[in-house]
Amino acid sequence: MRILVVEDDTDLNRQLVTALEEAGYVVDSATDGEDGHFLGDTEPYDAVVLDLGLPTLDGLSILENWRRDGRTMPVLILTARDRWSDKVAGIDAGADDYVAKPFHMEEVLARVRALVRRAAGHASNELTCGSVRLDLRSGRVTVDGSAVKLTSHEYRLLSYLLHHQGKVISRTELTEHLYDQDFDRDSNTVEVFVGRLRKKIGADTIETIRGLGYRLGEARDE
């Protein structure tokens, strides 16, 4: 899962990036409005954490631009202006949720988790596929009830596939969502991680669709 953080305060930006990375996300960040807008416009993110008060281009305008250009990724706005008029203006501009400053990192993580899950069409914080179960709150993965230890890359891969289970996910899409923008997209590390994950959760859980990509679970009509 790949998240974009747009926050002009460098300390807060760093804290958000660290917390999100620790929670298993791949995170890109921007400290001004124009950079943030550009990243959101060009990279496929699973969620965006967007501060409203930004230099060069304010958060509300960025959001409106994204939505006008058909960018549908869920957006969580951070705002120090916590009047309802500000929050509603944010929601009306296309935000999916808001967190008022000052906030606890756990709250932001919970909101981001919910946004990503909701965007993929899941109602619960527990994602299951056959005997594989992932608790999004704790990050625990079990197979047939017994805990499985995954590396962060494996976790991200499983989480993405579980969020989009039933769908064929191309290698490119996986690369885009599992690595940050500086990653060398030509490498074939995805295949390596899929192989390792299969060993831990069962070889037949992840199906390879030749020429197209991978699929977790039964095929779903789109």
Partner: protein, 476 residues
């Protein structure tokens, strides 16, 4: 010792002075002035007329004196100038038939200047001496005396010298007709002036009414602004009061600007303080240890303090903004939509009902803040349902129009003691649910600021029921 201040006593007088009508004052002053002017004009007119009539009267009497003198002198043919001077004959003057009629009011007498007894007199005197005033050394004089019938008589006297002897010739006429004429004239003048005065008063009244009409228009325009029906005062007014409208508009604009500036300032301050607070508390929570714990705890206190003072500053900024009002329906519909999105995970069914159009007499941001806090709170606690209703309050006993927003949820609700506690500042009954604990107390403070009220009750659907009463814009 009890001290009585002048101010306390001056209060009612000042308010009476304030309430006195400008129109009444203008009409009163104009009426007093025109009454005085008309009365003066009357007095001058009558006295001028009297003087003219008197001169006229005297001229008549003078003609008679001259004719009488001519009669007294022997003017027979052949008499020389010297004999003329020496001879006085008894005049048989009948220049006016009334001199022959007994006690007709018209009289004449001829006396020697050194002897008051009558030499000759008109028949009309019937032997009465006609008490003429002494002429002294004057050539002529005029005056009023009481005649033989007791009536006032105007007498004109002239001294002439004939043959070395001084004679005083007096001609008099009763003034009864003269005064009657003067009085008749005075009555006519008075009547005319009264009619003119009444006409003038009516004209003044109309003039004041028409003249003050732009003021009434200004008042209506200002009232429309205050009610929030208009943005600015109509400046198409007469030259004299147009500057007032312009000044008032400038005042309204500056008032709004001040509030806007204060809001922006508060917003900037909020942003400036809250971001570092987030950084500090998150850093502390991540670090762990006693120092981090202390920092975390103090950051939480600072956060509450900042929130509290920002709210206070915001409320101070939004006081007495005139001329603002908003429709409740779009504001609430927008909020419900946003809440639906925020709480979509929870699966709360949000319903909103409003009967008819209602306008809130205040800032839409404040309405949004109050109802936002209530609906947000209800959504947090609701099991599955939140109902929002808005309706006018049908209470003829109050002069102000108010409307009621009720927000009900089917959550666990609160006991009466908890409800009282919940509206207190910064009180959070459940620390596990995110929030500052200021929401409900902000609602209570804002509602009080608008002269409304806020209370918590048990809801029919099981949870908490919030009742928020706010001023509505009068239905015209």
């Amino acid at each position: 010792m009890k001290r009585v201040t002048n101010d306390a006593n001056a209060g009612p007088d000042r308010s009476a002075a304030r309430q006195r009508s400008l129109a009444a004052r203008l009409i009163f002053v104009a009426a007093v002035w025109s009454t005085i002017a008309l009365a003066l004009a009357g007095v001058v007119l009558v006295s001028r007329y009297e003087r003219a009539r008197e001169r006229d009267f005297d001229t008549q009497l003078e003609v008679h004196i001259k004719a009488l003198i001519a009669e007294m002198l022997d003017t027979s043919a052949g008499a020389s100038a010297a004999t003329v001077e020496a001879t006085v004959t008894e005049p048989n003057y009948r220049g006016d038939p009334r001199f022959s009629l007994p006690l007709s009011g018209w009289y004449w007498t001829v006396r020697r200047a050194d002897n008051p007894s009558i030499l000759y007199a008109s028949q009309s005197l019937v032997g009465d001496p006609l008490n003429t005033p002494p002429i002294g050394q004057d050539e002529a004089n005029a005056g009023f005396i009481i005649g033989p019938t007791g009536d006032e008589v105007r007498v004109l006297q002239q001294r002439i010298s004939i043959g070395g002897t001084d004679y005083v010739i007096a001609v008099g006429a009763a003034t009864a007709g003269f005064w009657a004429e003067i009085h008749e004239f005075a009555r006519l003048v008075a009547l005319t002036l009264i009619i003119v005065g009444l006409g003038l008063t009516l004209a003044i009244f109309l003039q004041v009414r028409i003249g003050l009409r732009p003021l009434a228009r200004l008042r209506a325009s200002l009232s429309a602004v205050r009610q929030g029906e208009a943005e600015r005062i109509d400046e198409a007014l007469p030259r004299e009061i147009a500057p007032l409208a312009v000044e008032l508009n400038a005042l309204i604009v500056s008032n709004k600007e001040i509030v806007e500036r204060a809001r922006t300032h508060v917003g900037n301050l909020a942003h400036g303080l809250k971001t570092p607070l987030s950084v500090i508390s998150n850093e502390a929570r991540a670090a762990g240890g006693p120092l981090a714990e202390k920092v975390s705890e103090q950051a939480a206190i600072m956060s509450t303090q900042v929130q509290h003072h920002l709210e206070r500053a915001r409320m101070a900024a939004q006081r007495r903004v005139i001329g603002v009002a908003c429709e409740t329906e779009p504001v609430l519909a927008r909020l419900i939509r946003a809440m639906g999105k925020i709480y979509q995970d929870k699966g709360v069914s949000l319903t909103f009902r409003q009967d008819g159009a209602i306008r809130f007499r205040g800032e839409s941001q404040d309405l949004e803040e109050m109802s936002g806090n209530l609906i947000d709170n209800a959504c947090k606690w609701a099991a599955s349902k939140v109902q929002v209703k808005v309706a006018m309050i049908e209470d003829p006993s109050t002069s102000r129009d108010m409307f009621l927003i009720t927000v009900e949820d089917d959550g666990p609700g609160l006991t009466p003691e908890q409800r009282a506690e919940a509206v207190k500042r910064g009180r959070r009954l459940d620390e596990t649910v995110p929030g500052t604990g200021l929401g409900l107390s902000i609602v209570a403070d804002l509602a009080a600021l608008y002269g409304g009220s806020f209370e918590l009750d048990g809801a029919a659907i099981g949870g908490l029921k919030a009742r928020l009463v706010l001023p509505a814009l009068r239905k015209e």
